[in-house]
Protein backbone atom coordinates (compact mmCIF):
# COMPACT_ATOMS: atom_id res chain seq x y z
CA UNK A 1 0.00 0.00 0.00
CA UNK A 2 1.30 3.37 -0.95
CA UNK A 3 1.99 5.64 1.99
CA UNK A 4 1.10 8.83 0.18
CA UNK A 5 -2.56 9.83 -0.16
CA UNK A 6 -4.05 9.19 -3.55
CA UNK A 7 -3.90 11.92 -6.13
CA UNK A 8 -5.97 10.48 -8.90
CA UNK A 9 -6.43 11.90 -12.38
CA UNK A 10 -9.42 10.75 -14.42
CA UNK A 11 -9.35 11.08 -18.20
CA UNK A 12 -12.57 10.49 -20.08
CA UNK A 13 -12.30 9.82 -23.80
CA UNK A 14 -14.88 10.90 -26.38
CA UNK A 15 -13.54 8.44 -28.92
CA UNK A 16 -14.96 10.80 -31.51
CA UNK A 17 -18.64 10.03 -31.32
CA UNK A 18 -18.11 6.40 -30.37
CA UNK A 19 -18.46 7.25 -26.71
CA UNK A 20 -19.53 10.88 -26.67
CA UNK A 21 -22.38 10.15 -29.09
CA UNK A 22 -24.11 8.19 -26.37
CA UNK A 23 -22.46 8.97 -23.06
CA UNK A 24 -22.47 12.48 -21.64
CA UNK A 25 -18.71 12.52 -21.11
CA UNK A 26 -18.71 15.93 -19.48
CA UNK A 27 -21.18 14.74 -16.88
CA UNK A 28 -19.03 11.67 -16.26
CA UNK A 29 -15.99 13.90 -15.75
CA UNK A 30 -17.87 16.25 -13.40
CA UNK A 31 -19.04 13.24 -11.43
CA UNK A 32 -15.56 11.73 -11.33
CA UNK A 33 -14.09 14.95 -10.01
CA UNK A 34 -16.19 14.53 -6.87
CA UNK A 35 -14.97 11.01 -6.13
CA UNK A 36 -12.59 10.55 -3.19
CA UNK A 37 -8.95 11.06 -4.08
CA UNK A 38 -9.65 12.54 -7.49
CA UNK A 39 -7.63 15.67 -8.17
CA UNK A 40 -8.64 16.27 -11.74
CA UNK A 41 -11.09 14.89 -14.27
CA UNK A 42 -10.89 15.85 -17.90
CA UNK A 43 -12.25 14.82 -21.24
CA UNK A 44 -10.54 14.63 -24.59
CA UNK A 45 -11.45 13.72 -28.16
CA UNK A 46 -9.07 10.82 -28.60
CA UNK A 47 -7.22 9.91 -25.44
CA UNK A 48 -5.09 7.26 -27.19
CA UNK A 49 -3.74 9.80 -29.70
CA UNK A 50 -0.39 11.45 -29.09
CA UNK A 51 -1.91 14.74 -27.82
CA UNK A 52 -4.25 12.68 -25.63
CA UNK A 53 -1.36 10.80 -24.08
CA UNK A 54 0.55 14.03 -23.73
CA UNK A 55 -2.34 15.45 -21.74
CA UNK A 56 -2.15 12.53 -19.32
CA UNK A 57 1.61 12.87 -18.95
CA UNK A 58 1.40 16.64 -18.50
CA UNK A 59 -1.18 16.34 -15.74
CA UNK A 60 0.82 13.66 -13.97
CA UNK A 61 3.78 16.01 -13.84
CA UNK A 62 1.96 19.26 -13.19
CA UNK A 63 -0.52 18.07 -10.61
CA UNK A 64 1.70 15.42 -9.09
CA UNK A 65 -0.80 12.66 -9.86
CA UNK A 66 0.12 9.29 -8.42
CA UNK A 67 -2.82 7.34 -9.88
CA UNK A 68 -4.43 7.48 -13.31
CA UNK A 69 -7.78 6.27 -14.62
CA UNK A 70 -8.59 6.42 -18.31
CA UNK A 71 -12.20 5.85 -19.23
CA UNK A 72 -12.26 4.85 -22.87
CA UNK A 73 -12.25 1.61 -24.82
CA UNK A 74 -11.50 -1.94 -23.72
CA UNK A 75 -8.29 -2.48 -21.75
CA UNK A 76 -7.61 -5.34 -24.13
CA UNK A 77 -7.12 -2.61 -26.71
CA UNK A 78 -5.16 0.18 -25.03
CA UNK A 79 -4.15 -0.76 -21.49
CA UNK A 80 -0.53 -1.10 -22.59
CA UNK A 81 -0.62 2.25 -24.39
CA UNK A 82 -1.60 4.11 -21.26
CA UNK A 83 0.60 2.10 -18.92
CA UNK A 84 3.49 3.15 -21.12
CA UNK A 85 2.38 6.79 -21.01
CA UNK A 86 2.25 6.67 -17.21
CA UNK A 87 5.68 5.14 -17.12
CA UNK A 88 7.05 7.85 -19.38
CA UNK A 89 5.73 10.45 -16.97
CA UNK A 90 7.54 8.76 -14.13
CA UNK A 91 4.65 6.80 -12.68
CA UNK A 92 4.68 3.11 -11.97
CA UNK A 93 2.73 1.69 -14.91
CA UNK A 94 0.57 -0.34 -12.57
CA UNK A 95 -0.76 2.76 -10.89
CA UNK A 96 -3.14 2.88 -13.78
CA UNK A 97 -6.62 1.49 -14.33
CA UNK A 98 -8.89 1.58 -17.32
CA UNK A 99 -12.66 1.93 -17.35
CA UNK A 100 -14.24 0.33 -20.41
CA UNK A 101 -16.99 2.74 -21.39
CA UNK A 102 -17.02 1.96 -25.12
CA UNK A 103 -17.33 -1.80 -25.77
CA UNK A 104 -19.18 -2.30 -22.52
CA UNK A 105 -21.18 0.91 -22.28
CA UNK A 106 -21.72 3.26 -25.21
CA UNK A 107 -21.90 0.55 -27.86
CA UNK A 108 -24.28 -1.69 -25.95
CA UNK A 109 -26.69 0.68 -24.26
CA UNK A 110 -29.74 2.07 -26.01
CA UNK A 111 -30.64 4.91 -23.67
CA UNK A 112 -28.12 7.81 -23.34
CA UNK A 113 -29.01 8.47 -19.72
CA UNK A 114 -28.59 4.88 -18.73
CA UNK A 115 -25.35 4.76 -20.67
CA UNK A 116 -24.08 7.82 -18.80
CA UNK A 117 -25.01 6.27 -15.45
CA UNK A 118 -23.30 3.02 -16.36
CA UNK A 119 -20.20 4.93 -17.43
CA UNK A 120 -20.16 6.72 -14.06
CA UNK A 121 -20.29 3.40 -12.26
CA UNK A 122 -17.44 2.07 -14.37
CA UNK A 123 -15.36 5.15 -13.57
CA UNK A 124 -16.19 4.97 -9.87
CA UNK A 125 -15.14 1.31 -9.82
CA UNK A 126 -11.85 2.13 -11.51
CA UNK A 127 -11.16 5.08 -9.19
CA UNK A 128 -11.94 3.00 -6.14
CA UNK A 129 -9.66 0.24 -7.38
CA UNK A 130 -6.75 2.37 -8.55
CA UNK A 131 -6.40 3.94 -5.12
CA UNK A 132 -5.39 0.51 -3.90
CA UNK A 133 -2.96 -0.29 -6.67
CA UNK A 134 0.55 -1.11 -5.68
CA UNK A 135 3.71 -0.52 -7.64
CA UNK A 136 4.69 -3.62 -9.56
CA UNK A 137 7.53 -4.41 -11.83
CA UNK A 138 7.26 -6.43 -14.99
CA UNK A 139 9.35 -9.50 -15.27
CA UNK A 140 11.56 -9.94 -18.26
CA UNK A 141 12.38 -13.35 -19.59
CA UNK A 142 14.69 -14.29 -22.42
CA UNK A 143 13.23 -15.55 -25.69
CA UNK A 144 14.94 -18.55 -27.21
CA UNK A 145 15.88 -17.92 -30.84
CA UNK A 146 13.97 -20.95 -32.08
CA UNK A 147 10.45 -21.37 -33.37
CA UNK A 148 8.06 -24.27 -33.59
CA UNK A 149 5.87 -24.28 -36.69
CA UNK A 150 2.95 -26.67 -36.50
CA UNK A 151 1.61 -27.78 -39.86
CA UNK A 152 3.60 -27.76 -43.08
CA UNK A 153 1.15 -26.52 -45.65
CA UNK A 154 1.52 -23.25 -47.49
CA UNK A 155 1.37 -21.12 -44.35
CA UNK A 156 3.74 -23.31 -42.35
CA UNK A 157 6.29 -23.61 -45.11
CA UNK A 158 6.24 -19.91 -45.85
CA UNK A 159 6.57 -18.92 -42.19
CA UNK A 160 9.29 -21.52 -41.58
CA UNK A 161 11.35 -20.27 -44.51
CA UNK A 162 11.12 -16.67 -43.44
CA UNK A 163 12.14 -17.34 -39.88
CA UNK A 164 14.89 -19.74 -40.94
CA UNK A 165 16.22 -17.17 -43.40
CA UNK A 166 16.66 -14.75 -40.52
CA UNK A 167 19.06 -17.24 -38.99
CA UNK A 168 16.83 -18.80 -36.36
CA UNK A 169 16.20 -22.43 -35.80
CA UNK A 170 12.81 -23.73 -36.96
CA UNK A 171 11.22 -27.03 -36.06
CA UNK A 172 8.56 -27.79 -38.65
CA UNK A 173 6.18 -30.42 -37.32
CA UNK A 174 3.83 -32.12 -39.77
CA UNK A 175 1.25 -34.77 -38.94
CA UNK A 176 1.39 -36.42 -42.37
CA UNK A 177 4.37 -38.39 -43.72
CA UNK A 178 5.23 -35.56 -46.14
CA UNK A 179 5.10 -31.80 -45.95
CA UNK A 180 3.04 -29.89 -48.50
CA UNK A 181 -0.49 -30.07 -47.16
CA UNK A 182 -3.38 -29.56 -49.54
CA UNK A 183 -1.20 -27.45 -51.76
CA UNK A 184 0.68 -30.44 -53.07
CA UNK A 185 -2.55 -31.90 -54.38
CA UNK A 186 -3.47 -28.88 -56.45
CA UNK A 187 -2.65 -28.84 -60.12
CA UNK A 188 -2.28 -25.25 -61.21
CA UNK A 189 -3.06 -22.51 -58.79
CA UNK A 190 -4.73 -19.17 -59.23
CA UNK A 191 -3.87 -16.45 -60.10
CA UNK A 192 -0.64 -17.36 -61.85
CA UNK A 193 -1.89 -20.74 -63.12
CA UNK A 194 1.45 -22.34 -62.48
CA UNK A 195 2.16 -25.51 -60.60
CA UNK A 196 1.99 -25.44 -56.86
CA UNK A 197 4.77 -27.70 -55.62
Amino acid sequence: MSDRPSRIGVFVCHCGTNIAGKVDVEAVARYAAELPGVVTAETYQYMCSDPGQDLVKEQIRELGLNRVVVASCSPLMHELTFRRACEEAGLNPFHFQMANIREQVSWVTEDPEEATEKAKRAVAAAVSRVARHEPLHVKEVPVLPAALVVGAGIAGIEAALRIADSGKKVYLVEREPSIGGHMAQLYKTFPTLDCSA
Binding site: N100, E103, Q104, V105, W107, V108, T109, E114, R121, A122
Partner: protein
Protein backbone atom coordinates in the same frame (compact mmCIF):
# COMPACT_ATOMS: atom_id res chain seq x y z
CA UNK B 1 -39.04 -0.86 -7.91
CA UNK B 2 -35.41 0.27 -8.17
CA UNK B 3 -33.31 -1.02 -11.02
CA UNK B 4 -31.43 -4.22 -10.20
CA UNK B 5 -27.76 -4.04 -9.35
CA UNK B 6 -25.74 -6.77 -10.94
CA UNK B 7 -22.05 -7.54 -10.82
CA UNK B 8 -20.48 -9.82 -13.41
CA UNK B 9 -17.04 -11.28 -12.84
CA UNK B 10 -15.65 -12.09 -16.28
CA UNK B 11 -12.46 -13.93 -17.10
CA UNK B 12 -9.93 -12.13 -19.21
CA UNK B 13 -9.42 -14.61 -22.04
CA UNK B 14 -12.97 -15.66 -22.85
CA UNK B 15 -15.84 -13.84 -21.21
CA UNK B 16 -14.40 -10.34 -21.03
CA UNK B 17 -13.51 -10.30 -24.75
CA UNK B 18 -16.92 -11.93 -25.30
CA UNK B 19 -18.48 -8.90 -23.65
CA UNK B 20 -16.27 -6.65 -25.77
CA UNK B 21 -17.47 -8.47 -28.87
CA UNK B 22 -21.08 -7.74 -27.95
CA UNK B 23 -19.99 -4.12 -28.12
CA UNK B 24 -18.15 -4.46 -31.40
CA UNK B 25 -21.33 -6.04 -32.81
CA UNK B 26 -23.40 -3.25 -31.22
CA UNK B 27 -25.72 -5.69 -29.48
CA UNK B 28 -27.84 -3.72 -27.01
CA UNK B 29 -28.41 -5.28 -23.62
CA UNK B 30 -29.55 -4.35 -20.16
CA UNK B 31 -27.31 -1.63 -18.65
CA UNK B 32 -27.61 -2.76 -15.04
CA UNK B 33 -24.64 -5.05 -15.12
CA UNK B 34 -21.19 -3.97 -13.92
CA UNK B 35 -18.40 -6.03 -15.37
CA UNK B 36 -15.30 -6.71 -13.33
CA UNK B 37 -12.38 -8.38 -15.00
CA UNK B 38 -10.54 -11.24 -13.35
CA UNK B 39 -7.85 -13.34 -14.96
CA UNK B 40 -9.74 -16.59 -14.56
CA UNK B 41 -13.17 -17.44 -13.20
CA UNK B 42 -11.28 -19.67 -10.78
CA UNK B 43 -10.06 -16.51 -9.05
CA UNK B 44 -13.57 -15.60 -7.90
CA UNK B 45 -13.50 -16.73 -4.29
CA UNK B 46 -16.62 -17.57 -2.28
CA UNK B 47 -15.84 -14.67 -0.03
CA UNK B 48 -15.75 -12.23 -2.93
CA UNK B 49 -19.18 -13.41 -4.06
CA UNK B 50 -20.70 -13.17 -0.61
CA UNK B 51 -19.17 -9.75 -0.07
CA UNK B 52 -20.66 -8.63 -3.36
CA UNK B 53 -24.13 -9.55 -2.14
CA UNK B 54 -23.47 -7.88 1.15
CA UNK B 55 -22.46 -4.67 -0.59
CA UNK B 56 -25.85 -4.58 -2.22
CA UNK B 57 -25.66 -6.54 -5.45
CA UNK B 58 -29.00 -8.12 -6.33
CA UNK B 59 -27.32 -10.66 -8.55
CA UNK B 60 -23.85 -11.98 -9.27
CA UNK B 61 -22.78 -13.49 -12.56
CA UNK B 62 -19.60 -15.49 -12.79
CA UNK B 63 -18.52 -15.86 -16.39
CA UNK B 64 -15.79 -18.19 -17.55
CA UNK B 65 -14.51 -20.13 -20.52
CA UNK B 66 -16.34 -23.15 -21.83
CA UNK B 67 -15.25 -26.49 -20.50
CA UNK B 68 -12.07 -27.58 -22.20
CA UNK B 69 -11.47 -24.07 -23.52
CA UNK B 70 -10.16 -22.53 -20.33
CA UNK B 71 -6.99 -20.61 -21.03
CA UNK B 72 -5.82 -21.70 -17.62
CA UNK B 73 -6.44 -25.37 -18.42
CA UNK B 74 -8.85 -26.38 -15.69
CA UNK B 75 -9.37 -23.18 -13.72
CA UNK B 76 -13.04 -23.15 -14.55
CA UNK B 77 -13.63 -26.69 -13.27
CA UNK B 78 -12.98 -25.40 -9.80
CA UNK B 79 -15.48 -22.63 -10.29
CA UNK B 80 -18.31 -25.06 -11.05
CA UNK B 81 -18.01 -26.87 -7.76
CA UNK B 82 -17.58 -23.68 -5.81
CA UNK B 83 -20.66 -22.01 -7.27
CA UNK B 84 -22.79 -25.09 -6.71
CA UNK B 85 -21.87 -25.16 -3.03
CA UNK B 86 -22.34 -21.41 -2.68
CA UNK B 87 -25.82 -21.57 -4.13
CA UNK B 88 -26.76 -24.06 -1.46
CA UNK B 89 -25.27 -21.83 1.22
CA UNK B 90 -27.20 -18.85 -0.12
CA UNK B 91 -30.42 -20.82 -0.02
CA UNK B 92 -29.67 -21.86 3.54
CA UNK B 93 -29.17 -18.21 4.43
CA UNK B 94 -32.55 -17.31 2.93
CA UNK B 95 -31.14 -15.77 -0.24
CA UNK B 96 -32.58 -17.05 -3.49
CA UNK B 97 -29.89 -19.19 -5.15
CA UNK B 98 -30.90 -17.91 -8.59
CA UNK B 99 -29.18 -14.66 -7.65
CA UNK B 100 -25.89 -16.39 -8.36
CA UNK B 101 -25.30 -17.80 -11.79
CA UNK B 102 -22.30 -19.33 -13.49
CA UNK B 103 -22.19 -19.25 -17.28
CA UNK B 104 -19.65 -20.01 -19.96
CA UNK B 105 -19.05 -17.34 -22.57
CA UNK B 106 -16.28 -17.66 -25.13
CA UNK B 107 -14.48 -14.79 -26.80
CA UNK B 108 -16.61 -15.31 -29.90
CA UNK B 109 -19.95 -15.33 -28.13
CA UNK B 110 -20.96 -11.69 -28.03
CA UNK B 111 -24.57 -12.55 -28.69
CA UNK B 112 -24.57 -15.15 -25.96
CA UNK B 113 -23.09 -12.71 -23.48
CA UNK B 114 -25.82 -10.15 -24.17
CA UNK B 115 -28.53 -12.80 -23.97
CA UNK B 116 -27.27 -14.09 -20.64
CA UNK B 117 -27.16 -10.60 -19.18
CA UNK B 118 -30.68 -9.86 -20.36
CA UNK B 119 -32.07 -13.13 -19.08
CA UNK B 120 -30.31 -12.79 -15.77
CA UNK B 121 -31.53 -9.22 -15.37
CA UNK B 122 -35.09 -10.41 -15.93
CA UNK B 123 -34.66 -13.12 -13.31
CA UNK B 124 -33.31 -10.59 -10.82
CA UNK B 125 -36.12 -8.15 -11.56
CA UNK B 126 -38.54 -10.81 -10.42
CA UNK B 127 -36.91 -10.93 -6.97
CA UNK B 128 -37.11 -8.59 -4.00
CA UNK B 129 -34.19 -6.12 -3.82
CA UNK B 130 -31.39 -7.69 -1.80
CA UNK B 131 -31.32 -4.81 0.65
CA UNK B 132 -34.79 -5.78 1.82
CA UNK B 133 -33.83 -9.43 1.99
CA UNK B 134 -30.76 -8.73 4.08
CA UNK B 135 -32.43 -6.05 6.21
Amino acid sequence: MPEPKIVAYACTYCSYPGADLAGTLRIQYSPHVNIIRVLCSGRVSPELILRTFREGADGVLVLGCHYGDCHFVSGNHRTVKRVAVLRRILEYAGIEPERLRLEWVSASEGERFARIVDEFTETIRGLTPIEQVLA
